[in-house]
Symmetry: C2
Subunit: 706 residues, 2 copies
């Protein structure tokens, strides 16, 4: 039975990847529409491909350097006890993690750039057709992420277990490096892509909408192609890499804590505990595939009905998982430890609850965003004050939800008697939260496709109702994106927490005599805490500043083209789109380096200075402040975006009014909040932990303060 | 000898209050200028007095209720061990703390409203005369705060020690309640005053400067008197109460940790350790008074020379203290524990270092603010993105400085061998940092006076050079205010840290069998940490939102007056100033309640739910996130303000340009950042700790999770 359940993971991987092929062929069979649409789509595709090629080239240098460094520690340098500091699998695991994370983003972007014109064309027939194409493209992305994630996990697990016959602890230790590779890649992709997309978006909006007063996606705007390219490299490729990292990160950390927990459960062996998270992910994939079949609407569907269709799919999947996880836990751990099943449910519920509160804060069908829209009556300054307050205030519910979820998972799993078991429960709750990722990501990733389709409809001069339909899809995408962000942030907090525990386990494993003093009143812990809490602030500052700087260069370029290209504003001459694309690419590639380095180097420096106790403080500090800043930024950004849409829908003066201009300022500030800095922080807090774990041996050898 | 040193505290109090009388009489002897100036000043004074009366009335209700609650715990309710939960001194100590904190603000405001016209008149003679009056008024405030602080400390100390013959531990325990009273009052004053001043300022600027295009402080602006009243009730009265709280808080917490430290120092008795912080504060006052005599300039002084004059005074005082603290520590603790002297120096140096970095980030003579000014070229959105990045980035240096200072004070005092001694060292470093408060506050508090003087000069139609001189003084005030904020934030972090330790001591004292498990991996600690870190976000949101809402009501009112009062814009009719003053007062009194309640109630609720371990997590979380948010907000706000001034000085298009409008948006957003939310958070993090300590007994009786 146990063997059979182990096969759930590769089975899930296989089914997911088959489903990807099915969905991809459905998208590719559809027509791209007229020649103009195809040509615009081609331009966007070329820009996105060109950017990703350049990004991967730079990232490749980094990965080669890290591979060399890790190989040095695995094959050459020896620690005090005469063995190498890392196992020989580590460098290879690191590389594959990065590779697959990048691949997830790449495939997602490929299908998104293929689907944009097709969605626009389908939307010109009907809303339902548009939804089908966009959602199929989103499904390709969603199931690529989970499929590749499980494939990678299975291959490594079976290889290390049956090929190299390693023990469970050694397996999870090597696999954490695989997570570190994925996180590094994800951070590059999120930061680089995030800077690209928002620099283009902000730049295009500031000159186009605010100064020149031309509509969004107007072909006269020289930054319009860059803006559409950005949606693909940031919101799609960046998100794919990001969620791949979240997904495997949560599973791996739960596996690692499973080993510790198993040593305290007399009736359970290591393998049983390790397989639970993997098998649960497998179940989740199957449930998600089934859920997608429920996503369809009637022809004349309202916004509400559309959302209902998406909800039906995700809720169905969640319920399936809740049912199937029970026998899984029962078979693997026995009735004595069935409490761990409670942790799964706690994670699922917390994910839904955070998603609900996120939607409440950021959707224009509720008071908070409507009130924010009302602040446009007194100009941009009150819009900014209102949005930042909204974002900061909105941290309360998720913080309390996560607090309750942590305590519930811990105690229900038996943490009061056996702390290791409780901590395993917390890690499992993160896996539970992300188990529906296949379908939640599909409902999330279709947003940028619809957004791009709208751009193409506008540029190709399609009838007004087409744009209206893609707008309906896009606006829905904003809501599902908010929910998706709730899951991403919530799971990041739980995973990071599990990784902190995994770090303390690792230290004890490396040097059982080392006395961890994690008392919060220990000055090393406290200063670590302070510095850790500062890192997300610093990191967010770097990324936002990068967006601001890059956006300024786009503004100057667009202004130059408006000024120098005769006949551009009258639509008689073509804009020079390529220069803007190139400017964005250069800026984002240049600016993505420093923030990523900060994430990689900080835990090592702090570790050497303050020792392992300081590192735990650092990780805890980064976790809490990063969690809160990420929520604040995501929600403020989402609310500004929707408040602007609310004004555009004719409230408080509507399009073109002074109020609208104020709303656009809010939206513009929100762009780097919600799509660059915020989501990157989720990755950062996990990367910090994984780096700490991988380099724990190095830190132990050097640290100054005991 | 020891007795003699004990007298340093009342001596310092006496000298400070005498010096206050001297300075006050110097201010009051000066002429108020012409009748118009006197009448404007009277209007401002009346508005400020009326507001404070209303504020004190509301706060009095709160204090009476708290007095009743504390009396209940001190005289009626008994704990498990059969004794009352609080000592009988607690309710009275609480009241006096609140009273003196309020009084500090009140006296500061009295002199500031008396000095504004006098400063304007003096500035019409010469810059130096203007500086003398303004700085004298600032000195009244600075030395009132330290004088009343030391007076209160001395009276309580001598009363409890020689009157009631209590032990040192009981004395410090009662005095912590006195700190809680001061903190509660300070929070009301800061939040209420902060909302008032910024609502008026933002409202006046948005309609006046941005929409109507009239200059700042133009008498046609109906909100102009409210704006000037706001400077007095917020920047002066609020700051006075705030810094009174910081000052006595740092001393009291050091006294409390002194008792624990003394029990580990065989050669030192409790009283010796307790007296050190008090005596050091006494020395600081004397040194500060001497320092003020160095603050004078030549007639044709440049901005730089003015700053030099202020610096000379503060540096001289700091050096005096550094010299005098050595024999003090030597006599009190003996050569064996002279390391504690190192903590004093570490605190002094950290304060100066944070001040320097704050100035670097926010002064327009350095790159960061100049670069921020350059973002105005692309409109308000990039200004906002730039300012928030600047604020977030600027948290790095202070976080590292505080981290180094904590580690240095801890280890140099002997924390490696005796943790209690190291923790005492940390508390002492906060006292060292604030020992120059008399003079640093004088250089800080004169800013609002100069600001008001400029307003009166403008409204009374004085010659242009008068306004230029008051502007020079005011702009300098912004720099010194930034430095002052650095001290306030740095000392708040160190004091809060000391109070966390005092809390754990208190728990052990109340129930020696209670097993504190402060491991950061304990779920109660972790969830406490998360919720604690969330509180400053939530709190900042509440206060900013209050400002936004109140400012909106001012905007509507000013627009209404512009529309309805015929001849107002032509200067033929008078504006209805009183309505705006009343609107601000109502709004701030209504909105100050909730944030303060949050600060008072949160630690008790979390304590009951998560127990003492959770409370420690809460306090640590609030400390780190509050520290960082406060710095971010102070520096972003300061930089926006000065970037605007930099544009107004003729850079990037100068006054009236589109760039200037963008800069004003930044400044407006920065107002509640730097003058409402930011400084209130400093108080919040200490109040949370003090409430936890005072209600520790209650929490211990109820808590759910062990």
């Amino acid at each position: 039975m146990q063997r059979l359940l182990t096969l759930l993971t590769p089975l899930g991987a296989l089914l997911a990847l088959l489903f990807v092929c099915l969905m991809a062929s459905r998208v590719l069979k559809a027509s791209q529409g007229n020649e103009k649409m195809a040509s615009i789509s081609a331009k966007v595709r070329e820009g996105a491909n060109a950017y990703l090629r350049r990004q991967y080239r730079i990232v490749a240098i980094f990965f080669v350097a890290m591979f060399a460094l890790l190989s040095l520690l695995a094959f050459v340098v020896k620690g005090k006890n005469g063995t190498h500091m890392l196992t020989p699998y580590v460098p290879f695991a690191f590389i594959t993690g990065g590779l697959f994370s990048g691949l997830s983003g790449f495939i997602g972007m490929k299908i998104a750039t293929a689907a944009n014109a097709r969605t626009a064309h389908a939307a010109s027939q009907s809303l339902n057709s548009g939804l089908r194409i966009a959602f199929s493209a989103g499904s390709v992305m969603g199931f690529t992420v989970v499929g590749l994630g499980l494939l990678d996990l299975s291959v490594w697990y079976f290889l290390l277990k049956y090929g190299f016959r390693l023990e469970a602890r050694e397996i999870t230790s090597a696999m954490l490096t695989f997570g570190m590779g994925a996180s590094s890649m994800a951070l590059f992709a999120r930061v680089g892509g995030g800077i690209f997309t928002k620099a283009a978006d902000v730049g295009a909006d500031l000159v186009g909408k605010v100064e020149a007063g031309i509509p969004e996606d107007d072909p006269r705007n020289p930054a319009v192609i860059a803006d559409n390219v950005g949606d693909n490299v940031g919101d799609v490729a960046g998100m794919g890499a990001d969620l791949y990292e979240s997904y495997v990160g949560s599973i791996i950390s739960a596996m690692a804590l499973g080993v510790s927990a198993a040593s305290r459960m007399p009736t359970v062996n290591d393998d049983q505990a390790v397989v639970i998270p993997m098998a649960m992910a497998g179940i989740g994939v199957i449930a998600s595939i089934l859920g997608t079949f429920l996503v369809r609407t009637k022809e004349k569907a309202s916004q509400k009905a559309l959302l209902g269709a998406l909800r039906r799919g995700t809720n169905f999947s969640a319920i399936l998982i809740a049912i199937a996880a029970f026998p899984l836990v029962l078979f693997m751990l026995g009735a004595e430890y069935i409490g761990v099943y409670g942790a799964v449910i706690s994670g699922l519920v917390a994910g839904v609850a955070i998603g609900f509160f996120t939607e409440y804060q950021t959707s224009d069908t509720y008071k908070p965003t409507q009130n924010l829209a009302a602040t446009t009556k007194t100009g941009p300054a009150t819009v900014i004050i209102g949005g930042i307050s909204l974002g900061m205030r909105s941290t309360m519910a998720p913080a309390i939800i996560i607090a309750i979820s942590v305590l519930t998972s811990y105690f229900i799993s038996g943490g009061a008697a056996t702390p290791a078991l409780g901590l395993f429960g917390i890690a499992i709750s993160a896996v539970g939260m992300l188990s529906t990722l296949g379908i939640t990501l599909a409902t999330d990733a279709y947003g940028p496709v619809a957004d791009n389709a709208g751009g193409i409809a506008e540029m190709a001069g399609l009838p007004k109702e087409v744009r209206e339909r893609t707008d309906a899809l896009d606006s829905l995408g904003n809501t599902t994106a908010a929910t998706g962000k709730g899951f991403a942030i919530g799971s990041a907090a739980l995973t990071a927490l599990a990784l902190i525990v995994a770090y303390t386990d690792r230290i004890q494993e490396l040097d059982p005599r080392f006395l961890l003093n994690l008392q919060i009143t220990n000055p090393a812990v406290l200063t670590g805490l302070l510095i850790g809490a500062m890192l997300p602030f610093f990191f967010a500052a770097l990324t936002m500043q990068a967006v601001g700087r890059a956006a300024q260069s786009i503004v100057f370029e667009v202004r130059r083209q408006f000024r120098e290209i005769k006949g551009l504003m009258e639509g008689k001459a073509d804009a020079d789109y390529a220069t803007c694309v190139d400017l964005c690419a250069k800026a984002s590639l240049r600016e993505m380096i420093l923030p990523t380095i900060v994430g990689l180097v900080a835990p090592v420096i702090v570790g050497i200075g303050l020792g392992p106790n300081g590192v735990v403080g650092l990780l805890a500090g980064a976790l809490v402040s990063g969690f809160l800043i990420a929520i604040m930024m995501a929600n403020a950004g989402g609310a500004w975006d929707n408040a602007k849409k609310y004004v555009e829908a004719g409230n408080f003066g509507g399009k073109g009014s002074e109020n609208h201009k104020a709303a656009v300022v809010g939206d513009t500030v929100g762009d780097p909040f919600k799509d660059t800095a915020g989501p990157s922080i989720n990755i950062l807090i996990k990367l910090l932990s994984m780096v700490s774990i991988v380099f724990a041996g190095v830190v132990l050898g050097f640290h100054v303060i005991k």
